[in-house]
Structure formats: structure tokens, C-alpha cells
């Protein structure tokens, strides 16, 4: 697994007087805690890709009619689908928690005259939006409103 990780990426345009060894990826890079979390964050991409494709099936079933919808609901109750959707929920929660912590740190200091709110306020706003949207979907799709 040890290999040069694109050794020319950071090279100066002209070779300097000091020669440096090309960077190497350590064999056990994926066992380092920060790297592992980073790889896990990237790996949620595979789950999101599948969620998007399955959601496409939901839309086609709604377009196709009641029988297709019923067949979809029956197939969604299969243990494999249930396990996949539980994994997708865990992935979405993981992405949300990690990204909403990262997002305030990635804001520019100001955009023209506007300054972003303080980091804790911005993070609280993101969580409030997440909670409100989830609650809204639960109310509408859960059959509470409109009844």
C-alpha cells in the first residue's frame, strides 16, 4: 500500500538546492483515528448514491400507480431494505453532525458589508433548520397534517 502520494503536486517550479524525499502514504494510514473518520465521511457517499437511486424508484412507483406503490412498500419491508435504510439514516446523521460542525468554520470572515453570525449561533441555526425540516416531513408524511 506504501506509495508516493502524487510526489509532484507540491513541487516548486524550479528544483531547489535541498532535495527532499517524496511524500509516502504510511501502510497503516487508514487506522489513524482522524483518517478513519475522514474515510468514513467519504464512504457515506456510497450510501448517499444508493439512497438517491432508491428514491428514484419511489418517484417511479408514484408515477406508475397504486399497484407499483404497494409493491414498493412491500419490498421496502424486506430485512435487506430495512437494514440499508437504517444504515442510510445513520449515515445522514453522521454527515449532519460532522458537516454542521465544519460549516461555521468554513465561512468567510465577511462578504462585502455582511459578517456571518458567530460560530455557535450559526451551528445552532443549522441544527434548528435540521430539526424543523425533519419535524415538518414527519408531520406531513406521517399523516398528521393535512389529515
Amino acid at each position: 500500500m506504501a506509495r508516493p502520494a502524487n510526489p509532484h503536486a507540491m513541487a516548486p517550479s524550479r528544483p531547489g538546492p535541498t532535495r527532499t524525499a517524496p511524500p509516502q502514504v504510511p501502510d497503516d494510514f487508514w487506522t489513524r483515528p482522524r483518517m478513519r473518520t475522514y474515510l468514513l465521511f467519504d464512504a457515506t457517499g456510497v450510501v448517499y448514491l444508493c439512497v438517491g437511486l432508491v428514491a428514484l424508484r419511489v418517484a417511479w412507483a408514484l408515477a406508475a400507480g397504486p399497484d407499483a406503490w404497494q409493491a414498493l412498500m412491500t419490498s421496502f419491508s424486506h430485512p435487506l431494505y430495512v437494514a440499508f435504510h437504517a444504515l442510510a439514516l445513520a449515515a445522514a446523521l453522521f454527515v449532519g453532525v460532522r458537516f454542521f460542525r465544519l460549516f461555521p468554520k468554513a465561512q468567510p470572515a465577511r462578504i462585502g458589508p455582511a459578517k456571518p453570525p458567530p460560530r455557535p449561533v450559526l451551528q445552532a441555526m443549522l441544527y434548528a433548520a435540521w430539526g424543523a425540516i425533519t419535524l415538518g416531513l414527519l408531520v406531513v408524511l406521517g399523516g398528521i397534517w393535512p389529515s
Partner: protein, 119 residues
């Protein structure tokens, strides 16, 4: 191909960023109801009976939300899966893998537009 991907990078990043932000905001509500709650019988039977589910999805806002749940996770997924492949297997086949993943996201998004318009 690599040059084309670099040129498209701003558009891809826009869709990827929207996928992380909007996709993640929408997914728990969708997964808890359509994907898990209704099939497992946790929700009342009428909640996602065909007529009601169809009426919600046929609403303009419903169509928009459903399209966001289809298309945005595809772009987030494609870009992060590409990054994962680079991390694990190196840069060698990045252009091929990236193109393939973005092609899936593009085709899925186009199919999503057709599907929500057909509802």
C-alpha cells in the same frame, strides 16, 4: 477527460455542496417515514396510502422536495465516492472513476426530473 472534470469542478462542487447540505437536511425525515415508518407499519395506514402519497408528491413543493431527495444525494454520493477511491486506490484511474460516477449522478438526476414530472 481530467481537463473536462476540472473545468466542470465549480458546477460539480455546487451540486455536491447542495447534496451535503440540503440532502442531509431532508434525508432523516424521508427515511423515517417513506423508507422505514410506512413499510414497517409504524405510521398510520392512511399516512402514505397511495392517494395521499400521490397528492403530496404531485404538489409543486412536493415534486421539488422529491427531486431534491433523488438528485442531491446522487451528486454528494458521486463526489465522495470518487474521493474515497482516490484515498484508497490512488489517482491512477480517477478520470475514469470520476466520469463514471458523475455520469450516474447526471443520468439519475435526469431520470428524477422525468419521474417527478410524470407523477
Amino acid at each position: 477527460m481530467k481537463a473536462l472534470l476540472l473545468r466542470l469542478e465549480p458546477v460539480i462542487w455546487l451540486l455536491f455542496g447542495a447534496g451535503i447540505m440540503v440532502g442531509t437536511l431532508l434525508l432523516p425525515g424521508y427515511l423515517l417515514t417513506v423508507a422505514l415508518g410506512a413499510p414497517l407499519g409504524v405510521l398510520p395506514a392512511h399516512a402514505l396510502a397511495f392517494e395521499r402519497a400521490h397528492a403530496i408528491a404531485a404538489n409543486p413543493l412536493g415534486r421539488l422536495v422529491l427531486l431534491a431527495i433523488i438528485a442531491l444525494p446522487l451528486w454528494k454520493g458521486a463526489h465522495h465516492t470518487r474521493a474515497l477511491c482516490v484515498d484508497l486506490f490512488g489517482n491512477g484511474s480517477d478520470a475514469l472513476v470520476g466520469s463514471l460516477l458523475y455520469a450516474i449522478a447526471l443520468a439519475g438526476s435526469a431520470a428524477g426530473v422525468l419521474a417527478v414530472l410524470a407523477i
